[in-house]
């Protein structure tokens, strides 16, 4: 019992340290947490707003929620991937459940996401969309996305210890996935056959359903929930099994 308590303290401390260090020695400090997603939104909006803005009256909100959700995905996966290696100096000296080293950066990405949501709600306030009971389902989608990301990090953090190319590969790949996900452009732009393939990507499916709920106020399809839920839960299950099996050996390779 005493031990468990300390592990929660440890997780909190690592999250806090990561958060503090991020904007240490910067003049604007915490303001960046809000400013950064806003600026990247602004850039994309200024460029693509002209192209796609006319077809969609809610283009701004659609772009914003899609962008910050995807940014959460890239931030959490890339930091989760490096989770073990970046703390190798600690992991080689102290024994504690290694999952904590992965959860800390992911929780930080969640914190950043909630800050980004503030921007979304500021825009929403000036241009409201229907507020329905379905909104209560939206956090579940985010929860599934977090599960997916944790599962992904459980795999990749182990692989990354032995295969240092993975960080670069993932950097490139996530840029590709960004453009393969209908975030800056509407999905209707794609040929129909292509649309269903694109939506096999769970992140694309999650973004589509979150938009459906928050912007259009409509319920997501049952099949979509089952698909996204299934993929996420399988990811975390197999990720965890793999992690448990490999972690004993991997500390020798740090």
């Amino acid at each position: 019992m005493r031990l468990k308590r300390n592990y929660i303290d440890l997780l909190k401390e690592l999250v806090k340290t990561d958060f503090k260090l991020r904007y240490k020695n910067s003049v604007l400090g915490l303001v960046w947490v809000l400013l950064k997603p806003f600026l990247s939104f602004l850039i994309l909006y200024l460029i693509f707003g002209y192209l796609f803005g006319n077809q969609d009256p809610n283009y701004r909100l659609n772009l914003l929620i899609g962008l910050i959700t995807f940014q959460f995905f890239t931030e959490a996966t890339s930091r989760g991937l490096a989770g073990l290696v970046s703390r190798a100096n600690i992991l080689l000296k102290i024994n504690f459940p290694r999952e904590i080293a992965l959860l800390a950066p992911i929780i930080n990405a969640i914190i950043n996401y909630t800050f980004s949501l503030i921007i979304f709600f500021i825009f929403w306030f000036f241009n409201p969309t229907p507020l329905t009971w379905w909104w209560l389902v939206a956090p579940m989608y985010f929860f599934l996305l977090v599960m997916f990301v944790i599962g992904f990090s459980l795999f990749t953090s182990i692989l990354y210890v032995r295969l240092r190319d993975l960080e670069t590969i993932w950097e490139v790949l996530s840029t590709l996935i960004f453009y393969a996900t209908p975030i800056i452009y509407p999905i209707s732009l794609l040929p129909e056959k292509f649309q269903s393939i694109i939506l096999l990507n769970p992140v694309a499916a999650i973004i589509r359903d979150i938009r459906l709920i928050l912007i259009q106020g409509r319920p997501p399809g049952v099949f979509s929930i089952i698909y996204v839920g299934g993929v996420s839960l399988l990811m975390i299950l197999f990720g965890w099994l793999y992690f448990r099996k490999q972690i004993k050996r991997v500390s020798e390779d740090f």
Binding site: R2, T17, N89, K93, R164, K248
Partner: protein
């Protein structure tokens, strides 16, 4: 029930072995990874620990000694749960805390206060426990309160070490595992560390130390485990094993340098010197190293194994006293009272390629003078105005 707990073990290691598999080319890029995957290259098996068994009872303190590369650190890492044994088992009873390094997780950008919490929680303390003991930790470290909210990067290295030690010493556990972390800071702080360490032993905790410092091992440990080449060479009474180990490693094994001795100005062997005596370090060099570009190094170590002085020469450039006998004459040693020892190193070609190292090849003592109340190692020449 209580009695059985007292007599039972704290650490029990049974037939523990550890192998490392070394592939010739470590695959750390995709290309190597794929090549190695398909080639199924046979990896070289390296036995770091071979069938180790021992038991440490509650309240005992065990010192682990052995030459570099003997497997001490691997054993310690397994005992701390960082590595997992390839074979055999390891059981511990009670809360284990291990200090493979002091100040793990210390971050230069964070303040002293933040680092106390981070490091403390990392080594296993609860947050409220640290808050409770915070003032004690700071007082122990001797760091001025005004520096607590200064980033660690502005601390001196001594301050960092003291802070790290102060956090460590306040951790509560039943079993302590340590790797050469006993002596930090100045002599005053070291005394404090020693006292704290003695009180941990007095409190009946179980301790496991790896150290090269035989005087510490002899002073604190009730049992000693000698490891060589991954297996247990000896286990038992500290005095016997330390003696066996140090004689073997210091005198008999030396291949290139023999009969290191100290003589005074008249050439007589002497162990005790006063402040203004001339000290000759004499030694015989084996003919194998002559005319082959070998360097010889002598270093004088003071209290707590700190090097006070160090000198090197190319053996071929030196004229021996007679056939094989060489010497280093120290005209003015500037040392204060205390015990010193001399380490001898032989390097080939460059100063980095060490072929022989003799720890404490000889010892000597500087006796007290008028300044006996003064501390420090060096007796500088000075003027007050």
């Amino acid at each position: 029930m209580k009695n059985s707990h007292k007599n039972s073990y704290a650490i029990k290691v049974e037939h523990l072995s550890k192998y490392f598999y070394l592939s010739k080319e470590r695959s750390s890029s995709v290309r190597d990874y794929i090549i190695n995957f398909f080639k199924l290259t046979k990896k070289k098996k390296f036995t770091a620990l071979d069938d180790i068994s021992f038991t440490v009872k509650h309240g005992e303190s065990l010192g682990i000694i052995g030459p570099n590369g003997s497997g001490k650190s691997t054993l310690l890492k397994i005992l701390s749960g960082i590595y997992h044994p390839s074979k055999g088992s390891l059981k511990t009873k009670g809360r284990v805390i291990s200090f493979l390094e002091l100040g793990v997780g210390f971050n230069e950008e964070l303040t002293g206060r933040e680092n106390i919490y981070l490091n403390g929680i990392l080594i296993g303390m609860r947050r409220d426990y640290i808050t409770e003991h915070f003032i004690k930790i700071v007082e122990y470290s001797g760091i001025d309160k005004q520096f607590l909210d200064t980033p660690l990067k502005y601390y001196s290295s001594g301050m960092k070490l003291r802070l790290a030690f102060a956090v460590a010493i306040h951790a509560e556990a039943e079993i302590y595992i340590m790797d050469e972390v006993l002596a930090v800071g100045d002599s005053q702080f070291q005394e404090k560390c020693k006292t704290s360490f003695e009180s941990i032993i007095a409190a009946g905790k179980t301790i496991l130390i790896v150290s090269h410092n035989m005087s510490y091992i002899g002073q604190f440990c009730s049992k000693v485990l000698l490891i060589e080449n991954g297996s247990i060479k000896n286990f038992g009474n500290p005095n016997d094993i330390i003696f066996q180990y140090s004689t073997k490693h210091n005198r008999n094994r030396s291949k290139y340098v023999k009969n290191v001795g100290l003589t005074n100005a008249t050439g007589k062997l002497q162990k005790i010197y006063s402040v203004d005596d001339v000290i000759n370090i004499e030694f015989e060099v084996s003919s194998i190293v002559i005319n082959k570009n070998y360097y010889l190094g002598l270093s004088i170590k003071g209290p707590n194994d700190n090097t006070v002085f160090d000198a090197h020469m190319l053996i071929d450039n030196c004229k021996p006293i007679n056939k094989k006998k060489y010497s280093l004459t120290i005209l003015n040693h500037h040392l204060r009272q205390g015990s010193y020892s001399i380490d001898v190193t032989i390097c080939k070609g460059s100063l980095t390629k060490r072929v022989e190292f003799i720890r404490s090849a000889a010892e000597f003592e500087i006796i007290k003078t008028i300044h006996s109340a003064y501390r420090g190692v060096i007796d500088m020449t000075y003027n007050w105005r």
